[in-house]
């Protein structure tokens, strides 16, 4: 309440009050010495400031200062105005900007999920399990499951066993 009255005193000084409020403040000042003293202080400060600002001078010569302004203006005027964008580009910008933001956010989430191994929400773990056979005609196969943290390698001898050779020979024979 006190602060509100202080601000009203100041507004009275600055001529920012309605006639009704001005009368209220004038009445207060008549009976309240502290309000009068505060008003005087605010008024003296205001009067002391008005017209007493230091007159700073630009520390550059007329020619030098103007040359910088002129250069900037010439630079701006030399820049051709960009042609108006076609209607379809404006449409894409207006309506798909939000969608592209969503797309980027989704892509980031998927990448993060890969990084953190948080793949349980994906439909199948099989996507991250792979069978590889580095050399086409090799007889070694490896199976890796990311979800199980497991790699299995099958190694088989590609050369026919004696028995098999024998049987083959037999069949030929």
């Amino acid at each position: 309440m006190k602060h509100e009255m202080d601000l009203k005193l100041q507004a009275y000084l600055d001529g920012e009050l309605s006639p009704g409020e001005s009368a209220e403040v004038a009445a207060l000042m008549e009976k309240d010495a502290t309000a009068r003293a505060l008003y005087t202080e605010l008024q003296q400060t205001s009067v002391g400031l008005k017209g007493n600002e230091v007159e700073w001078r630009l520390p550059e010569s007329r020619e030098f200062f103007w040359s910088k302004i002129e250069r900037e203006i010439q630079k701006l005027e030399a820049t051709p105005a960009s042609p108006a964008a076609p209607w379809w580009l404006a449409f894409v910008r207006r309506h798909l900007a939000a969608a592209s933001g969503f797309g980027v956010a989704t892509a980031l989430l998927v990448v993060a999920a890969f990084q953190m191994n948080m793949v349980s929400f994906l439909p199948s773990h099989d996507l991250f399990e792979e069978i590889e056979n580095p050399i086409g005609d090799s007889t070694s196969f490896s199976f890796r499951s990311e979800s199980q943290k497991m790699t299995v390698v099958w190694i088989s001898d590609s050369t026919p066993s004696d028995d098999e050779s024998d049987s083959a020979d037999d069949s030929i024979q």
Partner: protein, 200 residues
Amino acid sequence: MASKKDYPSMDDVALFKAAQRGDMQAFEELVARHRDKIYARAFSMMRNEEDAIDLSQEAWVKSWQRLKQFQGESSFLTWMTRIVINLCLDKLRKHKRERAESIEGLEEESGGVERQMPIVTPNPTEKLERAELRARIDKALNQLSYEHRTVLILHEFEELEYKEIAKRMQCSIGTVMSRLFYARRKMAVLMMSYRKEEMR
């Protein structure tokens, strides 16, 4: 053959109209005529020579671009001053965003120490030579927070009303009133302290 124009003898309105038609020499004359005042306003707000030079230069370039928008509803100097003030306010807001919350800012919210300050009874500006008074005012302004200094400059020097200051500083009228009140109180106390220092 067109006669050579005597730019220095032309008034602002004539120069301005010539500049609107693209006469760069007329614009240069306007710059030469008012460059100190525009720089002074930028310096009083920024308290930094480099920023003040850059912003006053930017204000002149902007005014060239907007010459056609000016309808002559105020003087050319008033219009130019408004441009540089707006540029300074933008820059100060940017500075404020960049720095962490300061103690000054916290004080402003709670009213700071100004709320408890005793009323300054003898007039601290009385019987001072004008140059001395100006120097003390400047020293005191330098010690205010940018919010308090700006509101004082806009009200006491630019003579803007509360509503206009609120619009320019992007705050409520209540905030303007509060800032102006504390700024004036702080100025009174600072001016008195300089006077006491002098008497010691």
